[in-house]
């Protein structure tokens, strides 16, 4: 293995132009992203500005009056009837939702204006507003019945939008979160036999956007995120570079000369794995160290933190090296241009779903789940968890999964490698 490793490493090292590109490009991208979008990770709602029209088809006063009248028909004690009537007045659902929309936190990214239905639709079509929140007719009565008497199914506010967007998704999540919280509080109220607790609901809605600090967690900054994500994705490209160099060896018959020496293909593949591992590790170390010194990336961290970071990097670079073996086998099976295209598609796909190009939280849920199973997604998770928590227990699982991926990839590369006479 040693001659192959030394040869491959020297071939990499002597290609100074490619080396410079491999080492400097990620640094430039990290700087550009970091300065262009400085708070994207810390405060993802900071740049959002959603204009929402609120249409009220419901007559809240009438709904409240009808709710009070309905209480008289129920077999309740006068004190209970009186208490529920007071609660209903305090818990007017449309008022509570408007209170939420006009709260300081939500106003930071949502501007709500009250319009009639026709005007709201016109503004939506003209693009003056991004969404319409509609309180449907009978909303107050239906919601109070559900909240305070646990009768009926309640009623949801309607959200109308011309097209899906991150802002609209956030608004939808906000409304759903509001409804779930209020329903939960009401259910707890009934279960405890006391007055519905929905009146506390507004205060229980979680913070929206902004920096959230949780005990025992370090907040990840944008620069840290970009450095880790870009470092990870550029390491993947080392696997592709290795395979393309192997394709050149095949084309120029150097591989045939190697075969004629009696060397087994596994020795050849092991050289690719070793050199890719070293190149990926060198590149990642260079990126982390340079970014740390330029951006003060991980200030006042312990030696233990750096050792943990190195451990994650080592395991990830091994998985990149094993991926290079798969790519090398592919390069020997396919035409050079086809192999290059297939590898690019694979890298772009796993790069995207693994959160290497954009933070995973902006991606749909199912893509986030798929991304967790990519080597770069797993590695990025491990890096982020280590930066946030610094706990070996937390990163053990992703590291073991990366090792399992590496072994599977090496096995696949051996199976994929063409047999004699087919190269």
């Amino acid at each position: 293995m040693l001659p192959f490793f030394k040869k491959d490493f020297l071939v990499y090292w002597r290609d100074r132009k490619e080396m410079a590109i491999a080492l400097l490009t990620p640094i430039v991208i990290i700087m550009v992203l970091g300065f262009a979008m400085p708070n994207w990770v810390e405060n993802p709602t900071g740049d959002l500005d959603l204009k929402v029209a609120v249409v009220t088809e419901d007559d809240a006063e009438d709904g409240l009056e009808r709710f009070r009248n309905s209480l008289d028909a129920l077999p309740l004690a006068p004190e209970e009837t009186s208490s529920l009537a007071v609660s209903a007045e305090r818990l007017l659902p449309s008022a509570m939702l408007m209170q939420l929309l006009e709260s300081e936190e939500v106003r930071a990214f949502v501007s709500a204006i009250e319009l009639d239905e026709e005007a709201a639709m016109r503004q939506l079509e003209d693009g003056d507003v991004s969404a319409i929140v509609t309180f449907p007719e009978g909303y107050t009565l239906s919601t109070l019945n559900k909240w305070l008497l646990n009768e009926g199914e309640g009623m949801a506010v309607a959200l109308t939008a011309e097209q899906s967007s991150t802002e609209v998704d956030m608004l939808r999540n906000l409304l759903e979160g509001f409804m779930q919280t209020v329903n939960l509080q009401a259910a707890i109220g009934f279960a405890s036999g006391g007055e519905a607790a929905a009146s506390n609901s507004v205060g229980l809605i979680g913070p929206v956007g902004g920096r959230e600090t949780i005990e025992g967690f370090e907040m990840v900054t944008s620069f840290q995120y970009y450095t880790l994500a870009i470092g990870v994705v550029f390491s993947l490209f080392v696997a592709m570079t290795t395979a393309l160099k192997a394709a050149t060896e095949r084309k120029e018959r150097v591989f045939h000369r190697i075969v004629l020496t009696g060397s087994h293909p596994i020795r050849y593949l092991s050289g690719k794995i070793g050199s890719t591992f070293c190149m990926a590790l060198l590149q990642m170390t260079f990126i982390f160290i340079v970014c740390h010194f330029i951006l003060d990336l991980f200030p006042a961290r312990t030696v233990q933190f750096w050792l943990g970071l190195a451990m994650v990097a080592l395991v990830f670079c091994f998985s990149v090296a094993s991926l290079s073996a798969v790519f090398t086998s592919l390069a020997f099976r396919l035409e050079e241009a086809t192999a290059g295209g297939v590898m690019t598609i694979i890298l772009m796909m796993i790069g995207t779903v693994g959160g290497s190009f954009v933070p995973r939280f902006v991606l749909p849920q199912w893509i986030q789940l798929v991304g967790e199973w990519t080597p770069n997604g797993r590695a990025l998770s491990a890096f982020l968890q280590w930066v946030q928590q610094g706990s070996p227990e937390v990163v053990a699982a992703p590291l073991l999964q990366l090792l399992a991926f590496s072994l599977a990839a090496i096995g696949a590369s051996i199976l994929l490698f063409p047999r004699r006479g087919r190269i």
């Binding site: 001659p3 071939v11 290609d15 000369r257 004629l260």
Partner: protein, 310 residues
Amino acid sequence: MLETVELRKEFKGKTAVDDVSLYLNKGESVGLLGPNGAGKSTTISMISSLVKPTKGDVRLHGRSVIKQPQDIRKVLGVVPQEIALYEELSAYENLTFFGRLYKLKGAALESKIQETLEMVGLRERQKELIKTFSGGMKRRINIAAALLHDPEIVIMDEPTVGIDPQSRTHILDTVRLLNREKGTTVLYTSHYMEEVEQLCNRMYIMDHGRIIASGTHEELQRILSGEDTLLIQLNAPSQGLIQELQQLEPVRRAEETDNGLKLIVTKQSNILTAVVQAAERQRVQIINIHVHTPSLEDVFLHLTGRTLRD
């Protein structure tokens, strides 16, 4: 020492090599001649165990090596047509790498590297990167890399294509040294008839995947022993004259050359008068007529209907 028995290779239904049987005795230098696409490289790939034949056998000392390729790989040095070297590495680093793959180490490796570099005349340039070498120098290192393990048999696939005269001379000297002084068995393929004439004891001529003739220089020339070659220099090209001469009975073949035409005619035929009369009829002037015994080029042309470099 080495023989192929009815070797055949088919690629996607097309026959690239068709029942090729040849042999190399120990210490012999054998030429394999043929135009592009004749099947020489495929034959070499099968002999060197890189490609499995569709049919037939390759035998070393009488034992089949199809299923045990390692037997032949140990004794074989192959110089491919391509420059199979790492451009980013120096000549020394390339030879070190391939030497280690042949399990050479330490002083033995160093000594073999220096010996082969000396043989190809590039010892002084060993620390320079391959990408800085001329085409001829690259081809010389390409040969050196195949000689590190002292192979008993060396197969050279067109080792002098596209190189400067100095490197060509050096390569031919190296082949002579290997064969005549070290006793290495050589199978040499080339487009250049004169190289094969100079270097090889025997030769095989391939065309369309088959061996169409074989033997020593003299044996092959005897194929055309009943014929003469006429080189006729004209003041202007004339297709009419070629067509007219082709009708004459003693003319076996007539073809245009750079400054006239070439005729292969039956020996002792009184053709000269007929040629002069035909030239007068076609209104072209004969400047010179040269009659000579057919060369191997002429034999090749006669057998394949085309020249080696077609």
